[in-house]
Amino acid sequence: MAKRLGVYVCECGTNIADKVDIDKVLAVVRSLKDVVVADRYKLLCSGDGQEYLKQSITENGLTHLVVAACSPKQHETTFMNVCERAGLNPYLFQLVNIREQCAWVTSDGEAATDKAIRQIRAAISRVHYHTALEKKGMECNPDVLVIGGGIAGIKASQILAAPDRKVYLVEKTASLGGKTRRFSKLFVNMESGPALIAGEIERLQKNKNIEVLTESEAEQILGFLGNFEVKVVSKAEDKEAKEQNFNVGAVVLATGFDLSDAKGLPQYGYGTLDDVYTSLDFEEMNLADGPTQGKILLKNGQPPKSAAIIHCVGRAEKGYCSKVCCLYSFKFDRMLQSQLAGVKIAHFYSDLCIPGKANQKFYEDSRESGVEFIRSAVTEIAGGDKGLTVKYESESGAKGDLAVDMVILLPAMETSGDARKFAEMLNIPQDDKGFLAEEHQLLSPVASAVEGVFVIGCARGPQSIAESIVQAEASAGKILSALVPGRKLELEVKTSQILESFCTGCKTCLEVCPYGAITFDEDRQISVVNEVLCHGCGNCAAACPSGAARLKHFTFPQLYQELKEVLR
Amino acid sequence: MAKTLKLNKGAEQCLLELLKFLLERGKVKGVFTLSKVGESGGVAYSLITDPTALEAALPLFPLMPVDAAKVLSRLTLVEPSAEPIAAVVRPCELRALTELIKRSQGSLDNLLLISSTCGGVYPLETGVNGNISEKLPGYWEAVKKGEIAADIRPACAACEHFVPYNADITLALIGNQDVDKQCLIQLNTEKAEQFADGLAGELSKGEAKSGVVDSLIAKRQARKQELLDEFGVEDFDVQKVFEKCIVCRNCNKVCPVCYCKVCFFDSGGDEHDQRYYETEMGKKGYAPVLPAPIFYQLVRLFHVSISCIGCGLCGDVCPVDIPLWAVALKTGGAVQNAFDYLPGRDLDEGLPVTTFKPDEFAATVD
C-alpha cells in the first residue's frame, strides 16, 4: 500500500513561528517523496488543533504522521491519542521537537530554519520505517508480599488481606512476632508483649487470605507496581529447600531493626565484663521462657541490688537518636522495681527524649520512685572484684564513679542486616544511616522511590510500636488505592525482542539489563526477553553485537535513516 | 543489425564521454563504474551522480575488486531501480548478473548495461601493490592484437566468453588496432539507441565480433586446456587440492553465485557437539574438528557449479593460493555441459534444476 505522509508544523503561538521560517520549511517538505500534505497551524495541542489534525488524517487518508512542535515529553501522548481517535496507529507517528531543540536555543532565524528542515526531514525518513505497534495491557495483580513478620508486617497483612486480595507474609525465622514478642512488657501501659503479639498472630492465622511462610526468604523480586514476580525459598532446618514462585502487585518491606553492636565500643565492657547487658539482653532475661525463666539475676545467680542504665550508647558515632530508648528505659525501671524490692537504679544520659502525650508522666513517675538521673558522659564501665563501676564525667567536668551490680546499655537501633539485600534487589536507596529510604521525608513517608514498594517500621528508622502500626496502616492505604482489583496496567509497548536465529548465547544482554527482564533458555541456548518486565531501555540492543536483540520503535533502519538525514 | 557509433577518441576516453553525456543530459541519474580510490592506485566501483566526479572514473581499469553483479544485485534486491542508471560491467559480471536475476536476486529494470570485449584483469595482488599502472601499456597492446596479456589472471587467460551476452551497449576493444585513438560503440538494443541518441559520433559498420576475436577465443581455449593440465585437474585429489584450505570462506563471500543470506556454513547446520567428535575419534583414533575444508568446498561446488561463470574471484582472494578458479571451471564446465547449459547466456534460459525432467537423467549421466 502506498504511503501517505502528513506533516504539520505547529507555530506554538509565537514560540516557533517567530524564529523558524515555517513557509520555507513547508516548501521543502512538500517536495519530499510520499508527503501528500504539509501545513502549519497556530496551536496544535489546543482542542481545535487536535480536532484539525484528526480531521486531516481522515480526509487525506494519511498512513503516517509527522508533527513538528514542542518536546515529546509535553505532547507526544497528546498527538498519539489524536492518531488513535482518527484510526491511525499511534506508533506511525513521529513528533519533532523544533521548539526546545531548535527555536528556543538560538537567536539566529536562518540557523533555526535550517535545523528545523533537517530535523523534520530526518523524522520523515524515520517514520517511513515505523511499524504499527499494539498497546498491551494486563490486569494488575492486587495481591501483596509483606516481608518481615514483626508487628508492622503483621498489621499490614491484617489490613490488606481480603477475599480478592491475597497477602503473602514471608518471615525469615521460625516464628512470627519479631522483636515485640520478646518484650515482656510494653511501655507506657506495661502490657505484656507476648500476649499482645499472640493475639495478633492468632487473628492473622485465622485469616484465610494470608499465606504465612516462615523460615523463608524472598530470593528474587522482579517487576513493577501491579506485577512483581517473586521467588521465595523456604528452608526449615534439616529439611530440603523449597522454592515457590508467585506474582503480587505490591511489596511491603517490614524487615525491622537490630541493635548496633555494643562490642564495637569497648569502653562499655560489653562482651568482656560480666553483667553488662544490652536492652535486648535484659528483655530476654525478663521473659518466662528466657535464660533465667524471667528472673532478673546476675551471672553469679544472685539478684542485683543496683543497676545503671546507660543511654545513647553509640549515638555520637551513629549520628542520630534512636527515639524510643529513653521511654523503654523507664519501663526497665518498673521491671526492676517490681521484681527487686529496694533496687537502686541510676540513669546516665546526655539528653532525655520524651515525646508524645502520655509519656511525660511515665518519666516523672520513675523519678518520683527514687530513680536517679545523672546527666553525664560515661567514659568507662570498669570491672573488678567488687562488681562494676560506672565512670562518668558530669556537665561541669567533674569526674565521678558509681559502683553497681548490673549495667544495662541502650545501644543505637540500626536497620536489620537484610535491608541491604532488599535495597539492592529492588533498587531502593538506603539513606546515609543505612535505613531504607522513604520517598519523601514529609510528603511520602511510607512509599519508597520504587513504585509499588513500601518501607514501614524500624526498617526505615528507629520508631515505636505505635508508629510502626501507623505506617503499616498508611502503606495499606496507599496499596488499596493504587491496586484496585480489575484495574488494567499499561505495559511498555516499545520492548526488546531477541531473534533466535541470531542469538549465540553469549549472555551479554543478561548482564546489562537493569530490570532483570532477560532470562537464558538453557534448552535452546538463547536469551529470551520477558516483555512484561521489559522497560524498553535498549541496553540489550546496544550491547548485542550481532543485532539479535532489537528494540521496537528504535530499530537499526529507523535510527539509521533518521541519522543519515540529520547528518546530510 | 546493431548500430555502431565510432568516436575518434581512445577507448577509455570514449566510454567516459558516453557516460558524461548520459549524466549531463539527465538521461541517467547515476553511473556505476570503476573509480579511483585512495592514493595507492586502487579502484572500487562507485555510483556516480555528479558528472564532475567522473574525472576520477577509470571504467576500463583491468582490475576487478568485487564482482559488479553482486553489487548490482544488492542494490536492486529490495526494490528495482526507480531511476535510469548506466552500469559498466565486464562480460563475466554481466553473465553473473543474469544468473542472479534468474534467482530473483535483483532487477534489471532501468539499468543500461554497458560492457566490452574483455582483455581480462590482473590478480588482486598486483593491484594491491600498485603495479598495474606499469603494466597498462602491455595490456592494451595485447588487446589490440588479440593476444593474452602477460601476467593476467589465469581465470581470464582461460576465458573464452569475453564477448558480452545481453549488454545494451558493447565497446569493441579486442582487435581494435587503433584502440587508443578510436573506439567503436555497438548499440545492441533499442534502449541503447534511445539513450545514445544525441551522442556525437559517426555511424560505422564495425562490430565487436571479428576475426581477431575468433582467434583470441581459440587461443584462450588452448590456454585453458594448458592451465587445467598444469593443475592436474584430471587426477583431482580432493584431499590434496584442498589440503591448505582454512575455510576462511572468502571464496563464498566474493562469488556472485553464492547469494544465500545465511550460508549453510554460517547457520550452525554443520555444527556437532563434542560427543559426536568423540565417537568419530573412537572409530579411527582421530577426528578433525570444524571447520572442515573438504566438506565445505564440495558443498559449495554442488551449489554453484551449474551457474559458475569462471570469473576467478574465488582463486584471487584465496589466502592460501588454492587455484579454486580451476576447480570451479572444471567442475562447473562439466556440470554445465551435461545439461547443455551456459550460465548467463540467456535470461530466459531456466536453471537446469528447475527444468530438469526425470527422463533426462540417463542422457545427463552419459
Binding site: T504, K507 | G38, Y45, T49, A53, E79, E271, H272, G285
Partner: protein, 386 residues
C-alpha cells in the same frame, strides 16, 4: 602476570616438536587425558587441521606450534564444545594468543572448559600464511630455524611486537623450552587441573625456572619497546579519518577478517544481516548527496563497527591479517585500537577466566575515568616517547 613459577622438567629428546609429542603420548598412555586437540597433518599432504587425536601413535602426525596459524585454536575449541559437552578429558595444545582468545570466548559463553585442559606453549611467532601457501616446504624449513634459534624477522609483523608469547596465568599448564638445554621441556602448572597432569605423570614441580623466566622476561621487555615504537608509527600513519580511509582503501568488503577472528562469534555478522539491506533509493540518495558513492558502501563502517564490537577482547593473534586478500595491515590496526581501549578499562583480554568483560560490569560513574584515560593517552604517550 607471572604464575607461581614452579615447574617440572619432562625429559624428552629431539626438536621442540618431538619433545612435545613425546609428552602428549606419555600423558595419553598414563590416562592424564583421553585425547588431544591439536593441529595435525594428514600424511602425504601439507594440511594443518585441528584434530581430536586419541590414538597415541597418530600423535606422530601432530603439529604443536605449526609454522603458521591457519585456524585460530579458540575457534577449534569452540567448534568442539559450543553445542554440548562431551565425556572425555581433552587437552588442547595451543599458542598463547589462542589461549587468550579461548578464555575470552569462555566468558562469552562460546566455549565450555569443563572437560578441557588448556595447555599453552612458548611461542616464537608464526610465519605469514601467504608464504606457507606459496611454498610449504620452504616455510617449514624457515620455521624449523626459528624453533631452534628463536624468533627472527621472518615472523608476521603482529608477532614481532607480541609481548604475550609466554604464560598468561589463565592456562592449566604451560610448556616452556628450557634455557641452554638441548632436551626436555618445562611443564609449568597454573591450576589444579594442570597440577593433576604432573601428578599423573609422576613428576614433581621442583625445577628451577629462573633461567627460563629470565629469558622470557628479557624478550618481553624488548617486545614491549618494539610494540610501542611500531604502534607509534602506525598511529601516525593511520590516525584520523582521511588516513584511516586510505589505510582501508583497498578493502573489498570480503569480511574475511571477521570470519577468521576468534572473537567474532556472532551467528550472522551484523554487517551481513538485514540491517544493512537498503533500498536502491537509499543508495542513490547517498550517491547524489556526495556526487558519487563507493560500492559496496560502508567499508570503513564495517571495520569501525567490528572494532566497537570486539576490540576489548582483541588478543592480537593476527588471523585477520593473514586472511586479508588485499594485504591491509588489519591485525596491526585492530591491535592498536584494541590495546588503547583495553588500557582505558584496565582490562587485559584472556588473562583471567574470572575477569568479566568490561561492558558487563561497567557502571555509569566510571565514564569520567574512562574518558580521562583516553584523554590521558597523548600524555601517556608523551611520557612513553620521552
Amino acid at each position: 602476570m607471572a604464575p607461581d613459577d614452579k615447574g617440572a622438567l619432562f625429559p624428552a629428546e629431539g626438536g621442540v616438536r618431538e619433545r612435545v609429542i613425546a609428552f602428549l603420548q606419555k600423558a595419553i598412555s598414563q590416562g592424564c587425558f583421553d585425547a588431544v586437540l591439536i593441529p595435525a597433518r594428514a600424511p602425504g599432504t601439507d594440511s594443518l587441521t585441528y584434530s581430536l587425536i586419541g590414538a597415541e601413535q597418530l600423535l606422530e602426525n601432530a603439529y604443536p606450534l605449526p609454522p603458521v596459524m591457519p585456524v585460530q585454536g579458540a575457534k577449534a575449541i569452540s567448534s568442539l564444545t559450543r553445542t554440548g559437552k562431551g565425556t572425555k578429558k581433552i587437552a588442547a595444545l595451543i599458542r598463547p594468543c589462542e589461549l587468550r582468545a579461548t578464555v575470552e570466548l569462555f566468558k562469552l559463553g562460546q566455549v565450555d572448559l569443563d572437560n578441557i585442559w588448556l595447555i599453552s606453549i612458548d611461542c616464537p611467532g608464526a610465519l605469514p600464511l601467504a608464504e606457507w601457501a606459496k611454498d610449504a616446504k620452504k616455510a617449514e624449513d624457515a620455521f624449523a630455524k626459528i624453533l631452534k634459534e628463536g624468533p627472527n624477522e621472518d615472523i608476521r609483523p603482529i608477532c614481532q611486537i607480541c609481548d604475550k608469547f609466554s604464560t598468561t596465568g589463565a592456562e592449566d599448564l604451560h610448556i616452556g623450552v628450557p634455557a641452554g638445554k638441548a632436551s626436555g621441556i618445562l611443564l609449568i602448572p597454573n591450576s589444579p587441573k594442570g597440577e593433576a597432569i604432573l601428578e599423573c605423570l609422576g613428576i614433581t614441580a621442583g625445577e628451577d625456572l629462573s633461567g627460563w623466566r629470565e629469558r622470557v622476561d628479557k624478550l618481553t621487555g624488548a617486545r614491549v619497546e618494539k610494540k610501542r615504537q611500531a604502534q607509534q608509527e602506525l598511529e601516525a600513519k593511520s590516525k584520523g579519518l582521511d588516513k584511516l580511509l586510505d589505510t582501508f582503501s583497498q578493502c573489498i568488503n570480503c569480511h574475511n577478517c571477521m570470519r577468521v577472528c576468534p572473537i567474532c562469534y556472532c551467528q550472522q555478522c551484523f554487517f551481513d544481516s538485514d540491517n544493512m539491506q537498503f533500498s536502491f533509493e537509499d543508495y542513490l540518495k547517498r550517491a547524489q548527496a556526495a556526487g558519487g558513492l563507493r560500492l559496496p558502501p560502508d567499508t570503513l563502517l564495517f571495520h569501525i563497527g567490528r572494532m566497537l564490537h570486539m576490540s576489548l577482547s582483541c588478543v592480537s593473534c593476527g588471523a585477520c591479517e593473514d586472511a586479508c586478500p588485499t594485504a591491509i595491515p588489519v591485525a596491526q590496526v585492530f591491535s592498536l585500537v584494541g590495546n588503547r581501549n583495553q588500557e582505558a578499562f584496565d582490562y587485559v583480554p584472556g588473562r583471567s577466566r574470572d575477569e568479566p568483560p568490561p561492558l558487563r560490569v561497567y557502571q555509569e560513574e566510571e565514564f569520567e575515568e574512562v574518558e580521562q584515560s583516553h584523554a590521558a593517552v597523548p600524555a601517556k604517550q608523551e611520557a612513553r616517547d620521552g
